[in-house]
Symmetry: C2
Subunit: 295 residues, 2 copies
């Protein structure tokens, strides 16, 4: 484990890696506040000819929606440099699971997830369609069974603030139908959804009814799980040994990099403190106070 502020080996980093993967919150910014020096760090490695990729578990926004956050804080990024768990789920389904083009996804999620499925040309139902977003004291169970679409070949569940019993009942019916071979994907398994005023139930919590009722284990795409990094490495044709993952959370970002055999750097500008390393037993390759302390 190298302490970068002490070694000041910024140039060695540039020699060792071609691609830098960044977690965003706690690394580039905290909430709506820029972390000093982060923008300059990204600029400097870009000028050195390096590739940058921004990795987020956020699945309620599309990459286009998420790019606005970068714009607001003055980062110049291209949509193709952003990998969200919603986008990665669409990519994983299409390329890694070779999802047939005539099949449809039943979406338990919001417009950001729908937009990413559309961007990969994947057909979809459910999601924000008003027919699936009703709150009523009576559910017509027979109608649900009769309405099942034989072309549904996957259920993808992400953060869904409009989650309701009807939508869950459709998803459950697809997942347990003996006639359908239905893939089962969670965009991520974050248990909480942090807001300025506190934390609330997250995507992994909200999707959990489907795993419980169907007795099936979903493929979880987002950090710290392996599928998202597999997608990035495959889609961007990266060499793991020339790639560095930078994040502020040991059990998501650093574990994520380690699952995919890329090198890792913990920055102390977010959630984790130095003491947590021994507590959690997850050892990054590099450690720095913040991006601003490195260059």
């Amino acid at each position: 484990m190298h302490h970068l502020p002490d070694l000041a080996q910024f140039k060695k980093l540039l020699d060792k890696f071609d691609t830098f993967l960044f977690d965003c919150d706690g690394v580039l910014w905290r909430g709506n506040e820029l972390i000093p020096g982060s923008k300059e760090f990204v600029d400097k490695i870009r000028k050195a000819g390096k590739d940058v990729i921004f990795v987020t578990n956020n699945a309620s926004n599309s990459r286009n929606q998420y790019k606005q956050k970068f714009d607001q804080l003055g980062f110049k990024v291209d949509v193709d440099e952003i990998f969200s768990s919603a986008y990665a789920s669409a990519v994983y389904l299409k390329y890694n699971l070779k999802f047939p083009s005539d099949k449809k996804v039943f979406v338990v999620g919001m417009s950001g997830l729908e937009e990413e499925l559309d961007s990969e040309g994947i057909k979809r139902i459910g999601g924000t369609d008003p027919a699936y977003n009703k709150l009523a004291p009576h559910v017509n169970f027979k109608e649900i069974k009769q309405n099942l679409d034989k072309d549904v070949g996957a259920v993808i569940a992400g953060f869904d603030i409009m989650l309701n019993y009807t939508k869950l009942s459709y998803a459950h019916s697809y997942l347990t139908s003996p006639e359908h071979d239905v893939k089962f994907i969670f965009t991520n398994d974050d248990s909480t959804f942090p807001q300025a005023c506190g934390v609330f139930p997250g995507s992994g919590a909200m999707s959990s009814p489907l795993a419980v009722s169907s007795k099936r284990t979903p493929i979880v795409v987002g950090k710290p799980n392996a599928p998202m990094l597999e997608c990035i490495l495959k889609k961007k044709q990266l060499k793991p040994e020339r790639t560095l993952m930078i994040g502020d959370r040991l059990n998501t970002d650093i574990a994520f990099g380690q699952h995919g055999n890329v090198k890792t750097m913990l920055v102390l500008s977010g959630v984790c403190k130095k003491e947590d390393i021994i507590g959690e037993g997850i050892y990054p390759d590099y450690i720095a106070h913040s991006l601003g302390h490195i260059h």
Copy 2:
């Protein structure tokens, strides 16, 4: 393990037990169809001066609502003879957990659960109150934090067909508030909700987001867990050794009786077959084809 149709020891049963606990579906009826001989069995043991109690995990109906099912099928029962997981949750909170009378319950559930809390004089908020039953693409997180009621001392989650993100966010906030000492109860943990046309997500599945997001373990009242039987024994002042639990499911009904050290009888008129006994490794004290085969 005694096979009752062979032994025909109906009279011995009457000698050994004072109270008979019945699971309903699969024992007394299947869906809306009476199981032959079940009504006569109940009548006969009543005539012999025995007490009967009907035990159901159904938490969406109150006992008064559930009694209508008995009425329709011609069973004469008193509301006090019915123990649902909703009623048992109210009783457990009040008597076993000694819930203070000035505290309130935040309800994630339906009118049946509310009615049972009312019947025990327990104050409540949430539940079917329209303020907590909205489906909207935007949730005012700050407002939720500001609206928290300092008198809430428990969250009870049961089957809730109107479940939504706002209600879950309130419940999560109570469960994780450092200022409140909030008890956490699930009426039951049934993963599915059987309907005539198939199964759908059950109470345990629908409540699971709260356990995931709060990282807390609820007290689960309903079968096969111990609290419901503790309530019955306490409220009715029963002797476990003089009580028999009769059910059609090994992993709920029979396990339930065994957790509470009462004797158990499996009837084969419902879900489980004789072969399942070895498969599941749960051994009832008695086994019978159906209630009609015993007397």
